[in-house]
Symmetry: C2
Subunit: 556 residues, 2 copies
């Protein structure tokens, strides 16, 4: 067997260094361009994806109780027709139970090596997985390859590095000796063993199915826990492809592949609660709705629960040197992935008196117009619109758009409409809906409105903008929070208010995708507001996934 | 202001090194001997203690709602007569709320420095605190100075070192830059700020009031959380003396002393649940009964709960080179602190066919006799008996002894009786009660019987000894588990069985106090069985006591 830990040691060391110093680094190329990869790999990835359509997904698991699959491509409107094993949970857990002891007994470095190889091979199937992500989550090809691919793998490697660091903090052995005076003396050899907590259930979301899955998988598996992955019924394929890699690598390493299993369910017959409630389940990682996330946080006593849900991400726009550039930065967030990202901006707070630009004050109406114009700018070129917006992963997202259009009435600043996707005429698309709001419309915007719906909120003053945005972060959650201002004092106040609400802040981001969260550098989710209780990735994300037992032996 | 972090930097570095390599080290002398300390310090400590008797304890806290105090010395039978502030919880939390922001904003190193100075000054009052511990917890002077003094301070320093390490893992700032291709480029300055979770409630036990208190206090306070300490009504003074030191050091450092407060209650009017349930309470550290510990573990969703409770600690005695030496080691545990320690042995499992000693098999009856004889040996010298056994902290412990004497009937191997304490004729004392049991008596020994009650359990075979002991650890909890054997295979099987039950193991400990748990080396409590969910001290003990927020600013 290859020593995968040694093989990937450099990668791990680089990730550890990047985590410690938090500079920009990536273990995988972000661009799917044929200029980098050549023609063959992208084509082969597409072919691999297409070969899976309309068939039984090649996953041999115990406890198979028939096959299910209800994925429909948001690009074509056609079912993918892929059938996945449905599982009988109790039988599955019996099989997992058989697999546990050898993995628990493996050296931490060996487990880390297996996880490194898993990430490496998932990197090798990024092209195929990008197509799988497109046709389930509805992301554009470029986003699926980068955000749900390379960036997500980086988050997995980051979590793995954290797990490695936490485990390495416990030495394997020690010698201890001392004199107890009249009570004698002792010379003891001590061994310390890391013990996994139990079965780890990873519940994935539909829109970024791998962003939290790689980290949770790596953190739990490296620390010795078997992992059951429960994909969203709408986005199973990208996850199934990862589970398949895990099982192959585990088997090659001489371990039972049932250390990683896939529990596919349907919307009509969901299995998540049964998995979570199983007495062997000790760890739950959840990405999805605030409601179910909060339920899990409150109702799993004695289990480790890690959640990332959602909030209402805000921009406070007080002043700027360049209104068009600022509007462009914000508008890109409104468009990107049709605002189905956990970092998408929803609420844009603007003082009712307008925004200072240089020496002048630009009235509210002109600010609103600048934002809408910037949105239009991003959409002008159909190819760029397609790459930026992707599709709506589910018809219910269009329902959100339609409901808010009706609610908004005359307050509509920019209507949403399908854009024409150059490659997929039947793609389910929608451009940003932008609504003018005031503090009186709190019930509209103090919640996540999933999809391309945003509000330009005229608050009474710049200070009121801060208070509204920060208060919403505190009460309703926030994963990304922004402030745009040329006034250092104002920035300081906004940052402190956001921080007091448990929110991280980005200041004056321009000329880059402001939704971007960098593995190894940006701590993702603070755990201090309702948008989740766990962080990608700090030590707290990994240290409670294992415990320590020791044995001390008196020297003969 | 003194730079306490710099002043105590060497101590912190030594603790970090000892934690990493887990050798024997102590930051404080364990012996109260005048040979080490001279005559003055011990005498001054005693005088300091005596000066507190019969008066209002000098603690000025807000929210004082009268004074209470119901401590009675187990050595004299006399009330201490010390009156402590009773608190109005809501008013107290209002005052704490005022104190929080400045402490949260302090640099981690400054907070660690304050905690180091607190431990240092608690070290300076070890003599006075030893007398306070004697006359509340009932420990002997030597044990109170060492176990509840120096050893507990070491555990505090250990937890503080862990907290420092976890916080130091997050850099204060970073620079990050990259190119996004067609989407632009970014050069970002990032700041990372550690954010405390909220109010930390520390609930102390009666018999070792500071063993978990120093660690919980240091872990929470260093990470920025205000701490409310809730001592046991029977053992308030040792804890109050620590709270007083904390408040003095905090005030000297320019912080609000209400960052550490004492919430004294009475048995009739307990306040723990009110503290735990307060919405500002985010962290709970509990030492005490398995019942209340388990209640807290199950009923504080969204709060961090760390427990150390109790179990039924076992010895498996299969074979030995020297039966008397083994019996002496076990007997010392039965006597030490009248078996009121969390590491005291309760269940001694012996094969019914007897124990192999060299080439012969010593019959069960002789093994029983050897253990009882060894107990008598420890008690022969009245001064040594007093140092070893101390007193029963509460009359209810004597009730346990009396109840089991009656249950045992003819199965009594050694009766318990008061021993004559040379210095305190009215001391509440009891020597070990030893009962012969078999697997049929499971309901006797599958629970913690608090105090000097133990069972020599004749199991059907050596293997049955392992299974019984390990099964009880798994189901009923264990903090210390032992095996005595000369057979490497047997040892291996016992160790694996204990580990599978989530128990740490000591093998063939002789000629030292086998109850001893070494800070910086022995992980105390595994969190894998019902004896508690937290470990002194691993990274998991500290990493969830704070969160991280970040601010990223685009370079102009």
């Amino acid at each position: 067997m290859t020593d995968w830990f040694a093989k990937h040691r450099d990668t791990l060391d680089k990730a550890l260094d990047a985590c410690a110093k938090r500079y920009s680094w990536s273990g995988w190329p972000e661009s799917p361009s044929t200029k980098i990869h050549g023609e063959d790999k992208p084509a082969a990835g597409k072919a691999d994806f297409e070969a899976l359509l309309g068939g039984d997904f090649p996953l041999e698991q115990p406890a198979e109780a028939g096959r299910v699959g209800e994925e429909v491509s948001p690009y074509t409107g056609e079912p993918l027709g892929i059938r996945y094993p449905k599982v009988d949970v109790d039988t599955l857990y019996d099989a997992i139970d058989q697999a546990r002891p050898a993995w628990a007994a493996a050296a931490p470095a060996e487990r880390v090596g297996v996880c490194l190889e898993i990430l490496h091979r998932c990197g090798e199937q990024l092209f195929a997985n990008a197509h799988a992500t497109m046709h389930t989550s509805g992301q554009s090809y470029v986003m699926a390859f980068a955000g749900s691919g390379a960036n997500a793998l980086d988050r997995g490697l980051e979590a793995l590095a954290c797990a490695h660091k936490a485990m390495a903090d416990v030495p394997a052995s020690a010698h201890w000796e001392r004199n107890f005076g009249g009570d004698g003396a002792a010379s003891l050899d001590k061994r310390y063993r890391l013990v996994p907590r139990g079965v780890s259930v990873v519940i994935c979301c539909a829109t970024f199915p791998l962003w939290n899955t790689y980290p949770a998988l790596c953190a739990s598996l490296a620390t010795g826990n078997p992992v059951v992955i429960k994909p969203h019924p709408a986005a199973t394929l990208p996850v199934a492809m990862v589970a398949k890699v895990c099982r192959e690598v585990l088997a090659e390493a001489g371990y039972d592949p049932n250390l990683v299993t896939l529990a596919v369910d349907t919307r009509e017959d969901p299995v998540a609660l049964q998995l979570v409630a199983h007495p062997d389940t000790a760890i739950v990682d959840f990405t999805g709705s605030p409601r179910f996330g909060s339920y899990l946080e409150q109702n799993c006593p004695g289990k480790q629960v890690y959640t990332e849900t959602a909030g209402c991400n805000a921009v406070v726009l007080e002043s700027t040197h360049d209104l068009d550039a600022t509007a462009r930065a914000i508008a890109q967030s409104l468009c990107q992935a049709s605002a189905q990202m956990c970092t998408s901006v929803q609420n844009i707070h603007v003082p009712a008196e307008g925004v200072r630009v240089g020496d002048t004050r630009v009235p509210l109406a002109e600010v609103q117009a600048a934002i809408c114009r910037a949105v239009d700018g991003w959409l002008e070129n159909p190819k760029r619109a397609a790459t930026l917006c992707g599709t709506l992963f589910d018809p219910s997202v269009q329902d959100n758009v339609d409901r808010y259009r009706e609610l908004a009435g005359e307050r509509l600043l920019r209507d949403s409409a399908p854009y024409a996707n150059p490659d997929f005429p039947n793609a389910r698309t929608a451009t940003p809906l932008v609504i003018a709001a005031t503090g009186a419309d709190r019930e509209w915007y103090r919640q996540e409105v999933f999809g391309p719906v945003s509000f330009v909120i005229a608050n009474d003053s710049a200070q009121a903008c801060i208070e509204d945005a920060a208060g919403n972060a505190r009460d309703c959650g926030a994963i990304a929070s922004h402030v745009y201002s040329v006034d250092e004092d104002f920035i300081e106040r906004a940052v402190e208010a956001y921080h007091a609400a448990g929110a991280s802040v980005a200041v004056n981001l321009h000329g880059m995708p402001i939704n971007f969260a960098a593995a190894y550098s940006d701590y993702h989710v603070t755990g201090l507001n309702p948008a989740g209780n766990a962080c990608l990735a700090d030590l707290a994300f990994v240290t409670s996934r294992f415990r320590i037992v020791q044995c001390k032996v008196m020297r003969g």
